[in-house]
């Protein structure tokens, strides 16, 4: 896992509520057995017309956002399926952070395991970011994970919360399975006390 650096980017506004994982990546793109090729499925039904040509109206296709790394989405982002293909598709398109007023639990978990930073903000900050993206679409904002701060162009800034373990994992590239396995003695001890169904 790569270490997580400061992000400075324009903000792609996608202020729809309840953007579910079927919108982020439709099920027909889940046939891959790798993590890379799913990138083409990102927002496929919004990004492309039925004939496969790109819908230039759709915000992510607009030229100005070509290299943007921050997505500003509506409430309850990532609800629905547990598919980790959703964060794979998002990061596969260069996006490193999603800002919303709330995230679905499984999506948030999956994002944090894939170097994608979900930032939860209150509705006022969300509104000010949305206003900024409308009034000054060229403006960059910066996200600093180390200090848990977001810097806006006019010198404004706000703090965000992240659980300390997830932060440590992102910053130091902690291998989470390796971390669990460092408790091998505890796991083995626990297993001695467990009696449950054996499927063979």
């Amino acid at each position: 896992m790569n270490n997580f650096n400061t992000i400075t980017s324009k903000v792609i506004p996608l202020p729809r509520n309840n953007i579910d994982t079927d919108q982020i990546i439709p099920a027909r793109y889940l046939k891959a057995t790798d993590k890379v090729s799913v990138a083409e499925g990102l927002f496929a039904d919004w990004r492309f017309y039925p004939d496969g040509s790109p819908n230039q109206e759709f915000i992510i296709n607009q030229k100005i956002y070509q290299n943007a790394e921050i997505l500003l989405a509506g409430d309850n982002f990532g609800c629905g399926s547990s598919r980790e293909h959703a964060p794979w598709a998002i990061t596969g398109n260069g996006i490193k952070a999603v800002i919303s007023t709330s995230f679905a639990d499984i999506f948030k978990n999956n994002a944090l395991k894939n170097n994608l930073l979900p930032i939860t903000v209150d509705p006022e900050i969300h509104k000010s970011l949305l206003d900024l993206s409308e009034e000054a679409p060229e403006a960059n904002i910066s996200i600093d994970l180390e200090t848990q701060k977001v810097f806006l162009p006019a010198g404004q800034e706000f703090d965000f919360q992240i659980d300390p373990f997830a932060k440590k994992c992102l910053l130091n590239g902690v291998d989470q399975l390796g971390y669990i396995l460092s408790f091998e003695a505890n796991i083995a001890e626990y297993e001695k006390t467990r009696k449950s169904v054996i499927i063979q």
Binding site: P15, R16, N17, N18, D20, D22, Q23, P26, A27, R28, L30, K31, A32, T33, D34, K35, D45, P50, G74, D75, N76, C79, G80, S81, S82, R83, E84, P87, S102, F103, A104, D105, I106, N109, N110, K113, N114, D163, P164, F165, Q176, L177, Y179, I180, L181, F183, N186, I187, Y190, E191, R194, S196, V197, I198, I199, Q200
Partner: protein
């Protein structure tokens, strides 16, 4: 005096699975049962290979193939495309290499993962159960803590039989009283989600309580727990009782003999203590619940079947208003119009929500000696091959076929449209599945979620119909 703090069912199951707790870190939680399927597991196995690791407990892991499998036949030639074939083949290779029991495509025991594990007696009270699928919440019907995980976590469980988790909050959903005729478990959960919204349960685990829940069968409890995730809760639970024990007794993987007695004694302790406090609560009266239909593009956009589609002016929050407007536009429906009577093209009876034998029986009762409308295509997709066999033994397949419905092999089918079963752009469907998201059942397809009763009645009427006129 020694005062023990009263605990919820969820507290008890959680605490029994703590392997380790460190400050400022998630709990290391032991997993009793890991279910896997072909779509969300291949990258996890690749990860294990890269690490040169084994699966820690293949004896606590069970595989099925359900998402990509065709339901038109059990022929490999009907697999929709080469990518799906490769994915299914890879599943077989992975299970063989790592020593995992697999019910593969074509096996008489295969079916939808959340249907197969319960009917085999693998899902049991008090367990922690995970699967790379959000509808793993289904197994909470047994008093298990069961939730969906991502592929990274699938790899964690394969490699360590543990997960890193923060303890969610608890949320009691109490339904008291007696359901009216023609009102089903599906209508209970669609009512709950309509009330709290698709994010209402985020960060929580539901426990469904109350006399209405107690009187439900295991299959009905599974329908309710299945859709907990549509209310934002990763898991939903029902405390085990005689109904649970009766269901499990004699199942293939249920404990036998003396072990059964010990297990039941243990399971009986899995109830919420008197005086335990939940972090949140919703109380409903069963008598107030009516057959429900969704009109929008998330499962929270549901109304009673006799109601009209809401006016935008009734929505206070501006963002919700915009989202609802977009949803109505996608659905091609207008505020103020009755949902009942809306013409439909397809009826889908199936999915991990409503494809069990009792669901098929309910629909068959309505379809008996009646015909599916000429304008409607109806698919009946049993949740497992065992259910298919059972239904055929009862002659339900004859009823469905005589009515003009398609009788299919088991699988996820049209619930998620990645296996050949799907809506065409613009088509309307009444579906017994769990998600009405844009394009969920096929690009441009439009879904009304409802119960098997409503689905069967609508198939006959050719439009959204109230099953109470057919009972």
């Amino acid at each position: 005096m020694n005062i023990v703090k009263p605990k919820t069912l969820f507290d008890k199951v959680w605490e029994r699975h703590i392997v380790s707790e460190e400050a400022d870190s998630p709990t290391i939680l032991y997993i009793d049962l890991h279910l896997i399927h072909e779509v969300t597991s291949p990258q996890a196995f690749s990860g294990l290979r890269q690490r040169e690791m084994k699966v820690r407990r293949p004896d606590k892991t069970l595989g099925v193939m359900d998402h990509s499998t065709p339901t038109i036949s059990l022929l490999e030639s009907d697999i929709i495309d080469n990518m799906s074939k490769i994915q299914m083949d890879q599943m077989a290779i992975n299970c063989k290499e790592f020593g995992i029991k697999l019910y593969e495509f074509g096996s008489p025991d295969n079916g939808i993962v959340h249907v197969v594990a319960p009917e085999k007696g693998v899902s049991q009270p008090g367990m922690t159960i995970v699967c790379g699928d959000s509808h793993t919440s289904t197994h909470g019907a047994f008093g298990a803590l069961a939730f969906g995980i991502g592929t990274s976590e699938v790899e964690h469980v394969l490699g360590s039989q543990c997960l890193l988790q923060y303890k969610p909050k608890s949320y009691e959903v109490r339904v008291d009283g007696k359901l009216k005729k023609g009102v089903t478990a599906k209508d209970i959960i669609l009512t709950v989600i309509a009330k709290i919204g698709t994010g209402g349960g985020t960060g929580h685990v539901f426990e469904f309580t109350g006399s209405a829940i107690r009187s439900l069968s295991m299959e009905e409890r599974m329908t309710i727990c299945n859709m907990s995730i549509e209310g934002g809760a990763r898991a939903g639970m029902v405390a085990p009782d005689e109904t649970t024990f009766e269901y499990l007794k004699g199942k293939e993987f249920s404990p036998k003999g003396e072990e059964w007695e010990t297990a039941v004694e243990n399971w009986k302790s899995l109830t919420t203590d008197e005086g335990a406090i939940y972090d949140a609560q919703l109380i409903l009266n069963a008598e107030d619940i009516e057959p429900m239909v969704t009109y929008g593009t998330n499962p929270g956009m549901g109304i009673q079947i006799t109601e009209s589609i809401p006016y935008l002016i009734s929505i206070a929050d501006p963002d919700s208003k915009v989202s609802t407007e977009k949803a109505l536009d996608y659905m091609g429906i207008s505020p103020g119009k009755k949902i009942m009577g809306h013409p439909i093209d397809v009826v889908f009876l199936g999915s991990c929500t409503n494809s069990r034998i009792s669901d098929l029986r309910q629909a068959a009762e309505i379809l008996k000696d009646r015909k599916v409308a000429d304008s409607v295509r109806m698919l009946v997709v049993p949740g497992s091959q065992l259910i298919k066999k059972q239904a055929e033994a009862e002659g339900l397949d004859i009823i469905f076929k005589a009515a003009g419905a398609e009788w299919r092999e088991a699988g996820c089918s049209m619930c998620l449209a990645m296996n050949g079963d799907q809506l065409s752009p613009g088509q309307y469907a009444v579906s017994t599945s769990n998600r009405n998201f844009e394009g969920r059942q096929g690009k441009g397809g439009r879904t009304f979620l409802a119960s098997p009763l409503t689905a069967a009645a609508s198939a006959i009427a050719g439009k959204v119909a109230d099953a109470r006129g057919y009972l």
